[in-house]
Symmetry: D2
Subunit: 93 residues, 4 copies
């Protein structure tokens, strides 16, 4: 089971919206829209992607990490290291 | 003329690649891929979008802002304020 | 016990280094150093602070969250929610 | 003349406040305060530093870059490249 299993539809809906935003930005560039207007949409799409990531991460910590920690042992250690690396990638992206 | 006119093809190619990355993430979610693997791809797409934004912004400053500043007057003041607001949005996204 | 108990000296050393960086930036501003050179140091200090945050967060997840999850119950739920909120604040800062 | 000349006092005041925040975080760590409370203050200090950076950058674009662009020639080209690199460092930090 994935951490996001219960929110799968919501995650997919948000990702499709981001895909639509990116396609919208392509159309703006194709029709030579003003740089600042393009940039505003790129910032919005970046924020939306970041928000999907935070939602996936929260589900992962709440389910996968919490269950592994409850079991303990080397799997717990590995899941926690993996989660911390994902958090660092996200903070630095 | 837009700031990105000379790089339009490159900007479009990068945006289409981001669109493909987002679609790839949707397929990962649809087939219940592991949270951390999904997150790694979301971080990569976020970084790619940020990189498109930096490229658009650099072109904008190099062309639109520089030309407005060379002309001076209220248009220059407005272009500079607008650019600074776009930079702030990007840093905060 | 805090999550960072074992790394306390290291965390303190990094924070003192950041404090020194910020004081160095103040001196640069006082002596009218060039904007771009000041900005380079501000970016370095920001990255250093972010890195302290990631270290504190990793320790917190590895110890406090993992222990709470092992015990389960409402405390676990609350610790996990709290950790997810801290992650979100960090990603958005 | 620096871009921040007119805002020098304000920039210094904000930097001293950040320095105070970092010192406050050191005291929290010294007295073993709870990880999440420490993290909240680290996020606040990071946001404050980022905000100083945006203010310095806005002044730099408004003055140094705008003046160089008005003069044109290789100095303008170099100032613009330099500003774009500083923006990229800031977005990525």
């Amino acid at each position: 089971m994935n951490g996001y299993a219960q929110n799968k539809d919501d995650v997919l809906k948000r990702l499709r919206r981001v895909e639509g935003q990116v396609r919208g930005i392509e159309r703006m560039v194709e029709s030579d829209k003003y740089c600042i207007d393009v940039l505003t949409q790129v910032s919005a799409a970046t924020k939306a992607l970041e928000s999907v990531a935070l939602s996936l991460l929260a589900d992962h910590v709440s389910h996968c990490v919490a269950e592994a920690a409850a079991e303990g042992g080397p799997v717990a250690v590995q899941k926690i290291r993996e989660a911390n690396e994902a958090i660092a990638r996200l903070v630095r992206s």
